[in-house]
């Protein structure tokens, strides 16, 4: 890769830290971990079944939603507390496409992604000059408005009850298996697409403009382009998550997409260290979906135990050596 000869005679001596592995080597290890993890996840329904398999399907869809929040943090340096809205957009697109057009998931999923892109741009354009806490609060406004909006248009949205997603996406495969494997496949595809994206010129331009806006602008990268692109992509990923969430849980309703949902997506993203890797995303998804269930027997203690678990995971992950954290975060070439 870097076999070009040195330019200057007697180049300046530099001693890179031998303990730090090269970028490509780091990928090799994380690729192996990801592939092993995927094989385990793919084999799970063969050994287990029932409720846990259903919950894991939901968990994978949540993991994609967490990736959408992490994408925004990693590439735009911005935090969203309203991503539940984009997830809801994907979920309702699938449900409405089934209700009115009898479209199954494989047809409505691309439609949901397109709706996500459009919504992301519609939100990003007026807010393109906002940053930090101001943008976060603007996203929160979206999340607050959504349930009311869905109830107002209850004729279309199904009101409190919501809508059902019943059509099979794959003929000849049992419902339970479809609701497990399709979100898992979606998660793997999104992770692979994001991994490829990291090497693209667009990703490099976005990363530079995030850390050094003046420098990026001097090389032709526009700030408004960067914001709109990040928001559109992040929102498309969220909408894909929503589409698979509605399919795996077979129902969509306003109380699945409250402000709390959006806040927990951010919590999941923090728990995963804003990771764009399969392992990180599943870790965030597990925390979001399974930990409340595991604690369910604790009654009034649930919020306290959940808070404690959250603290333990965040502090624990941050205490990891830098190399392990970098590996977990993934998304590097």
């Amino acid at each position: 890769m870097s076999s070009l000869p040195l330019g200057g005679p007697g180049g300046v001596a530099v001693s890179p830290d031998p303990a730090v592995p090269t970028v490509s080597r780091r990928w090799d290890v994380s690729t192996i971990v990801s592939v092993l993890g995927m094989l385990v996840l793919a084999a799970l329904p063969l050994v287990g079944g029932g409720y846990w398999i259903f919950t894991l399907g939901v968990c994978f869809a949540n993991a994609i939603a967490i990736l959408s929040v992490s994408f925004l943090v990693r590439y735009a340096g911005e935090v969203s507390i309203g991503h539940g809205v984009f997830v809801a957009a994907g979920a309702y697109t699938v449900a409405l496409a089934e209700k009115y057009l009898s479209l199954p998931l494989w047809a409505s999923l691309p439609l949901a992604a397109a709706v996500g892109v459009v919504l992301g741009i519609v939100f990003a354009y007026p807010t393109r000059h906002l940053a930090g806490i101001y943008l976060a609060v603007a996203t929160m406004a979206l999340a607050l408005a959504l349930p009311e909006l869905l109830l107002h248009f209850s004729g279309v949205s199904g009101g409190y009850e919501g809508l059902y997603v019943k059509l099979h996406a794959l003929p000849g495969v049992s419902t339970a298996m479809q609701r497990y494997y399709l979100p898992l496949a979606g998660l793997v595809v999104v992770v692979l697409l994001l991994r490829h994206f990291r090497r693209s010129r667009q990703a490099m331009a976005l990363l530079l403009i995030r850390t050094s806006a003046h420098a990026a602008e001097s090389f032709g990268v526009r700030r408004s382009w960067a914001r709109l692109s990040c928001m559109a992509l992040s929102s498309a990923i969220a909408a894909i998550a929503g589409a698979l969430l509605s399919f795996s849980s077979s129902t969509v309703s306003p109380n699945s997409f409250t402000l709390g949902t959006s806040i927990f997506l951010l919590v999941g993203s923090v728990v995963s260290l804003y990771s764009l890797s399969l392992f990180g995303a599943v870790l965030g998804g597990v925390f979001l979906t399974l930990v409340p269930l595991l604690l369910a027997g604790a009654g009034d203690w649930v919020p306290i135990l959940y808070g404690g678990a959250l603290l333990a995971v965040v502090l624990g992950l941050n205490a990891l050596p830098a190399r392990m954290r970098a590996r977990l975060q993934g998304g590097r070439s």
């Binding site: 040195l6 330019g7 180049g11 300046v12 490099m204 850390t211 032709g220 990268v221």
Partner: protein, 262 residues
């Protein structure tokens, strides 16, 4: 790439340029003619307005008076990305590399304006995107080689000393074969040996189409590589001329050379 025929081999001219921040006059009535094929030095004591002038040239600052032209083309109201499209390129006084990108990836951003791979190629392994990425990597490696740091291509910027980061920044600025190249204190943080190498590398950048301007405190480097030197002092041009004439100019010696340089 996208520059019109009117700006090929064109000089960069500055006329009556004035810039102020909240009543403080930073630049006043600056008139310069920066010729292609020459290396122009811009010197002056701290606070003389050198970096402000650079920022006006690249469009980061909008001057209140005067104009800047590339050949026949007025650059009024043209933002940095627009000037980049005309072939403007620069390095920064404070190193502005992205820590999440490797050195060669940082340099590849300098080629972004000449790249056309779309969003589909960004997400899918299409041959077109792969070829462009390989081509850009090759061009970035060439730029790194010209500065003698090709071996650092896959390092992360955090692992490198400041001098190397500065060379990487210059590599990014030259990777896209710019028409106007502005180097802001390229030798800051370099040791004597590194500065000598940089000096040789800068001299090699000279080309008949390139307007090359350097802001620098290292007088040896400036005197060695520059054809023309402009001296700024408190926002005005104090003197302009060949290196020897500047060295002998009594005003310059008084305000600048006498104070800072032996």
């Amino acid at each position: 790439m996208s520059a019109g025929a009117g700006v090929l081999n064109a000089p960069l001219t500055v006329q009556g340029l004035g810039l102020s921040f909240g009543g403080i006059q930073v630049l006043q009535d600056i008139a310069l003619r920066l010729e292609p094929g020459e290396i122009t030095g811009l010197i002056g004591p701290n606070g003389a307005g050198k970096t402000s002038l650079f920022n006006c040239l690249t469009g980061l600052y909008v001057p209140q008076a005067g104009n800047i032209r590339l050949g026949d083309l007025s650059l009024d109201g043209l933002a940095p990305p627009g000037r980049s499209a005309l072939g403007f390129s620069r390095s920064f006084q404070h190193v502005a590399l992205c820590p999440e990108l490797s050195v060669v990836e940082n340099v590849m951003v300098g080629l972004d304006r000449q790249s056309s791979a779309g969003w589909l190629a960004a997400f899918l392994p299409l041959p077109r995107g792969r070829l462009e990425r390989l081509r850009n990597r090759g061009l970035a490696m060439t730029a790194l080689s010209r500065l003698g740091i090709a071996r650092l291509a896959d390092e992360a910027p955090q692992q490198l000393p400041p001098g190397m980061l500065r060379l990487a920044e210059i590599a990014r600025a030259i990777a896209g074969t710019p028409r106007v190249l502005l180097l802001d204190e390229p030798a800051a943080g370099l040791n004597a040996a590194e500065t000598r190498e940089l000096s040789a590398a800068v001299a090699r950048l000279r080309s008949p189409q390139l307007v090359l301007v350097i802001v620098e405190h290292d007088m040896d480097l400036i005197m060695e590589v520059c054809d023309t030197i402009h001296v700024l002092n408190v926002g005005r041009v104090l003197a302009s001329g060949r290196p020897q004439a500047i060295r002998d100019n009594a005003d310059v010696v008084r305000v600048y050379l006498g104070g800072d340089d032996e």
